[in-house]
Symmetry: C2
Subunit: 494 residues, 2 copies
Amino acid sequence: MAKELKHLTKRSDDYSQWYNDLVTKADLAEQAPVRGCMIIKPYGYAIWEKIQAGLDKEFKKLGVQNAYFPLLIPKSFFAREAEHVEGFAKESAVVTHYRLKTSENGKGIVVDPDAKLDEELIIRPTSETMIWHTYKNWIHSWRDLPIKCNQWCNVMRWEMRTRPFLRTSEFLWQEGHTAHATYEEAVEEAQTMLHCYADFVEDVMAVPVIRGEKSETERFAGALKTYTIEAMMQDGKALQSGTSHFLGQNFAKSFDVTYLNKDNKPEYVWATSWGVSTRLMGALIMVHSDDNGLVLPPKLAPIQVVVIPINKNEEQLKAITAKLQPAIDQLRELGISVKYDDADNKRPGFKFADYELKGVPVRLVMGGRDLENNTIEIMRRDTLEKENVSFDGIVERVKDMLDDIQRSVFEKARKMRDSKIYECTNYDEFKERIKDGGFFLCPWDGTAETEAKIKEDTQATIRCIPYGYEQKEGAVDMVSGKPATSWVIVARAY
Amino acid sequence: MAKELKHLTKRSDDYSQWYNDLVTKADLAEQAPVRGCMIIKPYGYAIWEKIQAGLDKEFKKLGVQNAYFPLLIPKSFFAREAEHVEGFAKESAVVTHYRLKTSENGKGIVVDPDAKLDEELIIRPTSETMIWHTYKNWIHSWRDLPIKCNQWCNVMRWEMRTRPFLRTSEFLWQEGHTAHATYEEAVEEAQTMLHCYADFVEDVMAVPVIRGEKSETERFAGALKTYTIEAMMQDGKALQSGTSHFLGQNFAKSFDVTYLNKDNKPEYVWATSWGVSTRLMGALIMVHSDDNGLVLPPKLAPIQVVVIPINKNEEQLKAITAKLQPAIDQLRELGISVKYDDADNKRPGFKFADYELKGVPVRLVMGGRDLENNTIEIMRRDTLEKENVSFDGIVERVKDMLDDIQRSVFEKARKMRDSKIYECTNYDEFKERIKDGGFFLCPWDGTAETEAKIKEDTQATIRCIPYGYEQKEGAVDMVSGKPATSWVIVARAY
């Protein structure tokens, strides 16, 4: 298709539309013809692959092994853990038949009524039930523990309101499921994974997060504790970016999984589960990007450096290419992904806009005058600053710039976020200010009633009881006036 | 669980049972509680991950990009390409509802009849229909071509008779889908991918394959040509290990995908698709392994070298460990995966048997006497040959041995296979000899009738019209006596 410059809606005009535009126009994803599902396009998927590879490496360092469990879960399994089924029943995709056939009139294809399953199968919304059914066969003695399995897979939750990456009926994720001999070890594992997620999201995705614990209302269905990382988008709304659950002995009891302890006595096994999904793509996009398009931290950019020659003719192109090639080779040897775009069917202006839209961190441009003067233009995507510099030492300069961009985008996001974290103890003030977004650090009496009232009045929810923020004593709940049990982060969320 | 030595059925007693035993006892996979589905256990999955990573690298070298398309396909899409739906309708898992609810009596969970889908959704058995629906939006002009997308995903085909890895209702695979401007380019792509698969399977999996083209009967539903790689198992049966399809313009026509050529005229797009699956695990297991367990080519072994100390006491263990550590470190620096197993809760004899069962290519054992004598025992899994050698130069020795094992297992498999390829022109002889397995190179008249008769009489099928085998002229079909149009490989198959 003859490509056109693709303008985005401005963030200040309509943040939500800007996001949708960006997802589509930067070739990240598109709406699928199945309600609420998306097609992740090659450029979007290349970013997801980097997230996946990076996390997988961290998991393996922590002794986690990958495995694969079935997509379909018998309905009866699903029903065994009461809270769990309560949490997922309303959004279950159900397989009821296993065959199609030609219709009576021979003109269409219909479900074969003779191929009805005895028991319906649910497309996994998460795999605790299947995995704990399996662990029963794997776990007999304390010697078999701990078990730490993870799977990278697709899951399905029939969501009513969907948005690409942020909330889709089918999404890609990883789900880790661990089994332990003791309460303490399981809680520690859940915490370890929380920090594993947080460190990765901050170091690699350059997205600052608040780590904390969910309130009871917001816990995963079947968990005793849910830990979370919460990121702030540019509009001040929260995005829950990863969760880690301490499941206690709930699933072990539902699936009768016991082990013989060192005294040869049976005990129920302790569990955790933890997951991050393609939702992280949403965080990545919304935290860093601007009105010109994506801004990607170099560690996740499929193309880290684009090099564009500007030439009058074939001969000049050859000379420019010859000049650039050694630098390109050296960058590649350093493990930096470089695209040399000398395609002659697009104007430079189009290319500039397109690579900006796609968030390529560093752009190098060399024209005829640069060739004469031994110079090159270097631009960084995050600030759009460009400079004409000597060609000598360009490799080192690019390398340093990539490191600097990685740091800078994180710092920018952190400053933005920190400027929108407000301590607030007055409910009227809260109700007024929440309209403009931001994270509100508020004293809470620990009751679900207060939580429900806040949500009803303002659509905001308790994101977490945060770590690393002072839990000042003696405060009272801003809604009920009762003594606070903790300070919590309250925000509207995606 | 207190581990016991796990004896396998011998191949000569019951090859099929030997395979099932091995899959289970080497911790590769187990039967799932959903009919025909399997759980891929961590050790099995670690091998699959290596296959996946290796192939993915090759695909990317060929300009293929990964993407992700939805799991669920609307029934109407599915029905658009007539041969395609004919091929897959009988084994489709169908989603009809999107919600569960508590039953009337409050005691169970039932499908909510109010949540019936307007149109049923099929769990993808393969994604041509979804992808060609999508390509319609991606392809407008010759400038948009070629497109080369691949996805790694799960698919579901409701098979009646299943066996772990070889044939399961759900399996993991990759499916590549390419779009081209010309017939020639698409055929070339399908061929390129065939050779990509064949080279990988031979070089990395050490499984020799015959490359060739399928007969019309055996083609993929919707393809004009299907290319295949066929491997021979130790019982002389064939395993189709990967296929690549030239789809012509069938899907482009069904989904109305045209492009404007350089003369600005619309033309239908030409297509290929190609896939390999967890079935490759079956080939890997059945080609190399023996009555003691798995034999893995080093390039795919999750653990390439296991090092086991044999010590009388803690002090001696320390001394042995200190002696071994530098060699272990050096091996790891060379990128070789080494497991040092000094666990004291298992006897050496158990460890030996277990690592043999799991196919670890090289085993090193050091005891007290070795420590004194500066020696070490080295064993290679493929031949079970062991030797007591000087500890000096052990790193180099291990490295060379791994290379040698990789070559040797391929050669052994190739020789075994070649010894069971028979030229055969007499049908009575064929019917007698096919009972003992093997690939029969036979003249064929090119008709489906002959093919059907062979299958009916012997259960054998035409595996392919092979490349690299002489197509002698003047032969007659062994069944019909009519002039042969080609020589084909006939065999029983998994």
